[in-house]
């Protein structure tokens, strides 16, 4: 399609109808509930979207599996745990270094991230059981590396044949004495997407690691940053900013993280939640058990970064910190403003679509907004209703069979360590002054009225949406990249950032402006047709005429 065609002002209901037209009736009925025309306004209750439900067999989804969410997303970025995939070789191989989690091996130098460990199950293991092989593999890993921790990840057949990976882990942990061994029942068929894997990972990290290090950590204004995975160095940029502000980050779940960070996270005084979808479970559990409140932050976008820093400062309610944060923002913003001034004339008014993650499709609307770009359609790959409509809808979410299979931990206040960081009165006062705890308002709230929100967008709908709405930019993952670009529309990966990043924080925002400017204004999109296709008529004349 030609690049020059402008956005046609189509009625969103017609667009929705066009997306559903070709489906068999049963599929159309189901998808209709996952496609909504946004009506979110400040005071209105947003209309309901169906999310976190099964993908329809045969419909080409963007989603991955529970193993991917657990091993790939949450545990993948932790550098000093030996992550052993228990299963046939594929799952371990495909999740080997492919998420662009950057890491700094630190002073101790432990870094197993460039390695892939697998039990490489064979048919005899499937028939006779794989527990013995798993036990031997753990022993071999221990003998070779003597790591602080060994994590076991179950793949589909493990659950089916009934290997008790938790019993093996317990046995080996006792045997070693100096190495924590724990397992994740994250078989790919569980749940409906990666999201179940996040939950399973969170539960086990909380059960087996959090709280292990009893020695309090030094530092002022101690926070945990939850749900930041250091893709393309995002976490490094956020760390840089926090350091400038004098805020101590005890642990990041789980970008550039280490075993000890998880083990010490109960020493923080505030949990700052980036990716609500993948990690809100840990935030809730840390609050219930240790009394650490949590707030939602967003370091994607310069204004969002500034706002998030101010929220943290507001929480600690310390004049020095508040001034420091303001000074940092004042020092960082000129470069950001200069970059915006440079790119904005070229990006103003352009349109974007985003179908990614459980938070990113929301977070990046701010960055696009800073460039004068409008998000005309968005959705999550594995979000839940609360990620769209806000946490207020949590009590009304029906738990279906697929979610019921995912364990919910029953967490109680720790007898010795529960220590509410703020009194109820202090919390109330902070709420009154605008700082909201345990609060996330969801994506729909920030999307314009009439925009189209699609949950679990698939290949067919993506192509249709692009065809009808002709965005200037489409954002999703690697699987979607080239089919969209064949249509002549630039595509930015927002899972792994292609090869770019960081895009978080102030410097990240500048990177992102430049990257998007490059993408939407690249000359290549004007090369689709050869001269003889543009002007097929034969009108040449002889040069001597």
């Amino acid at each position: 399609m030609a690049k020059t065609k402008k956005l046609v002002q189509l009625d969103p209901t017609d667009i929705k109808a066009a997306l559903l037209k070709k489906y068999p009736p049963k599929v159309a009925r189901k998808r209709a509930k996952q496609i909504m025309i946004n009506e979110a306004q400040e005071s209105e209750t947003p209309s309901e979207i169906v999310a976190n439900v099964r993908t329809i067999p045969g419909i080409i989804t963007m989603r991955g599996c529970t193993y991917a969410g657990c091993k790939g997303v949450i545990m993948g970025p932790t550098r000093d745990i030996v992550n052993i995939t228990h299963g046939p070789i594929g799952c371990g191989f495909y999740s080997w270094l492919t998420r662009r989690n950057q890491t700094d091996a630190g002073t101790d130098g432990d870094n197993y991230m460039p390695y892939c460990f697998s039990t490489d199950m064979q048919d005899q293991d499937i028939i006779f059981g794989g527990e013995k092989k798993l036990e031997a593999a753990i022993q071999e890993a221990y003998d070779l590396f003597h790591p602080k921790g060994i994590a076991i990840f179950a793949t589909c057949p493990v659950g089916l044949i009934g290997d008790d990976i938790h019993a093996v882990a317990r046995k080996m942990k006792e045997k070693f004495g100096d190495c924590n061994v724990f397992a994740f029942s994250c078989e790919g068929y569980k749940g409906v997407s990666q999201s179940a894997g996040h939950h399973i990972a969170n539960n086990q990290v909380f059960t087996h690691i959090v709280g292990e290090n009893k020695t309090p950590k030094e530092g002022e204004y101690k926070i945990n940053l939850l749900g930041e995975y250091n893709i393309g160095g995002d976490g490094f940029e956020i760390d840089r900013i926090l350091k400038l502000c004098g805020i101590t980050c005890i642990s990041t779940f789980s970008g550039n993280s280490s075993y000890d960070q998880f083990a010490s996270s109960q020493h923080a005084d505030l949990n700052a939640v980036m990716c609500h979808r993948s990690i809100n479970y840990v935030a809730d559990m840390l609050e219930t058990k240790y009394g650490i409140p949590w707030i939602k932050v967003n370091f994607i976008g310069a204004a969002a970064t500034a706002k998030s820093l101010r929220k943290i400062a507001q929480y600690f309610d310390n004049k020095t910190l508040i001034e420091k944060v303001e000074a940092v923002i004042a020092a960082e913003m000129p470069a950001v403003e200069a970059a915006v001034a440079d790119v904005r004339p070229r990006t103003e008014g352009k349109t974007a679509m985003m179908f990614v993650g459980g938070s990113r499709a929301h977070h990046y609307t701010e960055l696009f907004g800073e460039m004068g770009m409008k998000t005309i359609s968005a959705g999550y790959e594995f979000g839940h209703r609360d990620d769209y409509e806000g946490r207020d809808v949590l009590p009304t979410i029906k738990v279906d069979a697929d979610s019921r299979n995912i364990e919910e931990l029953d967490i109680k206040a720790d007898e010795n360590l529960y220590n509410p960081r703020k009194t109820p009165e202090e919390l109330e006062a902070l709420e009154k002054s605008g700082l909201k705890f345990k609060h996330y308002k969801g994506m729909n709230h920030d999307m314009d009225s009439g925009t189209i929100i699609v949950d679990d967008l698939n290949q067919y709908e993506a192509e249709k949406l692009v065809e009808i709405m002709k965005p200037d930019l489409f954002c999703a993952g690697i699987k979607e990249k080239y089919s969209i670009q064949k249509l002549g529309i630039p595509m930015k990966q927002l899972h792994s950032y292609d090869s770019g990043g960081p895009y978080a924080g102030f410097k990240g925002a500048v990177n992102f402006y430049n990257e998007i400017d490059r993408l939407v204004n690249s000359k290549v999109w004007s090369y689709m047709k050869a001269p003889w296709q543009e002007n097929p008529e034969l009108t040449a004349t002889f040069v001597w005429e």
Partner: protein, 457 residues
């Protein structure tokens, strides 16, 4: 150091694979199925498998990889995946309208014992397969063999479509094995030059090298058609390029359809290409034209020109058996020394074959099937090499040990061009030489002292 925990001392491991040199069967089946015209591969398992395979193939080919999944949930895993697959077939034919669906299984559906034939029958009796459409299937349990086995199983499923008419077509079947789209084009070009009418299957050229035009076709023009596959039983012979990737399908056609088969090495390098051309002309009963002999001579010329730089260089290579066998032979023919040869794919025959190729050479080869890159790295730590040849994952060893590295094989996730520039045939041999030489001479230029640095090499 990125692989800082890899010790020099090699300890025997029986259970733990570290840094694998193989993937699982379904990804091979998916790649093979993309070489059928108008085909949507379908992964009968949980959706993560399909997502992983599509991602890996997309990152390697830099092309859209469309494939669907049965999206198993816990319920389907308990009660069987029949309902999911029948529903998927219906949805796929309605929404995406492919000519063919090529179903492969996964460790999940294999462990619970789903029977593709029976589900296929159910889909037919339920009327879910429209007239003129085809559904094929291959059992590809991830816990047996490797991605190479899965590729081979799907290629065999293609051969099983053969419907011999009793009359010979005069065509020759060529099964290229897991090679790049550009290699498929090169094989077809060579066959055309020799004057042999071939049916190449699978054929991913024209599928995974699509132009950027502003239009997206989920099913581009390339790929072997079902009609062509049906006629493979009438061919006068089959050339299977690679024992691991291609022989099963060729042998099936031989035993079931009386199409005589010859199993050859993949045509990488001089000698393997010689054998390919020689067998091709013998099977078809034609003379090799001078143009082909001329191309051969050009490769020999370049080998002679570059011999001084390549001679005696020690090489570590890893990847898939068929490619490694041909590459080892090519390296030996250049008087290079492939000292370490590792595949993750099982097969005792592999180790034997590599030893045979290296027999009598002035070096001792260390070869391992069912090996991993961790072991190969340990060998390198004990005695270094001058060049690494293999997939992208080698870059960590290359950086840590400061060894020149030529990317070749699957997957290549960090460079481009492999899908466009063939490495099979004589011309492909030129490309391999060029790439090797560039690595080795770039290193020489980097390492030479100011006194010995030279303009002319």
């Amino acid at each position: 150091m990125l692989l800082r925990h890899t010790p020099k001392e090699v300890a025997d491991r029986k259970a733990l694979m570290i840094n694998p040199a193989k993937m699982c069967q379904p990804i091979g089946a998916m790649y093979a199925a993309l070489g059928i015209h108008g085909c949507l591969p379908h992964s009968h398992g949980s959706q993560g498998c399909c997502a992983y395979h599509r991602s890996t193939l997309t990152r390697h080919y830099k092309e859209p990889i469309s494939a669907a999944s049965s999206s198993f949930t816990e319920g389907a895993s308990v009660f069987g995946g029949q309902a999911n697959l029948v529903q998927a077939i219906d949805n796929i034919f309605t929404v995406y309208e492919p000519d063919v669906i090529a179903v492969h299984t996964t460790c999940l559906s294999e462990t619970i014992g789903d029977d593709l034939k029976q589900i296929h029958y159910k889909a037919v009796t339920d009327g879910k397969i429209p007239d003129g459409k085809t559904v094929i299937g291959a059992a590809t349990p991830s816990y047996i063999g490797s991605h190479v086995t899965g590729f081979s199983n799907m290629v065999k499923a293609m051969a099983e479509l053969a419907e011999p008419s009793g009359e010979k077509s005069g065509k020759v079947n060529v099964i290229p094995g897991w090679v790049e789209p550009a290699d498929m084009i090169e094989i077809k070009r060579l066959a055309e030059l020799v004057g042999v009418d071939i049916t190449l299957f699978p054929d991913t050229s024209g599928v995974l090298d699509a132009p950027l035009t502003g239009e997206y076709n989920m099913f581009p023009e390339g790929g072997v058609t079902i009609e062509e596959l049906k006629k493979t039983g009438d061919a006068i012979g089959t050339l299977a390029l690679g024992e691991w990737c291609s022989a099963d399908a060729a042998r099936w056609l031989d035993s079931k359809c009386k199409v005589p088969c010859t199993v050859l090495d993949m045509p990488f390098g001089l000698a393997a290409t010689d054998r390919f051309i020689d067998v091709l002309r013998t099977v078809a009963g034609v003379n090799v034209p001078d143009t082909v002999t001329h191309e051969r001579g050009q490769l020999v010329d370049m080998i002679s020109d570059m011999h001084q730089y390549l001679y005696g260089k020690k090489v570590a290579i890893w990847g898939d058996p068929d490619q490694l066998i041909a590459m080892t032979e090519f390296l030996v023919s250049l008087d290079m020394q492939p000292v370490y040869v590792v595949t993750g794919t099982p097969g005792k025959k592999f180790e034997k074959r590599i030893r045979e190729i290296c027999e009598g050479q002035p070096f001792e080869v260390k070869v391992k099937a069912k090996g991993d890159m961790f072991l190969m790295h340990q060998w390198i730590k004990n005695e270094p090499v001058d060049l690494l040849i293999g997939n992208t994952y080698g870059k960590y060893i290359a950086r840590d040990e400061d060894i020149p590295f030529m990317r070749w094989g699957f997957p290549i996730l960090d460079r481009q061009g492999h899908q466009y520039f063939p490495t099979v045939g004589y011309r492909g041999g030129l490309r391999l030489l060029e790439k090797m030489l560039e690595q080795i001479l770039d290193r020489k230029d980097r390492d030479d002292s100011e006194q010995t640095f030279e303009l002319v090499l």
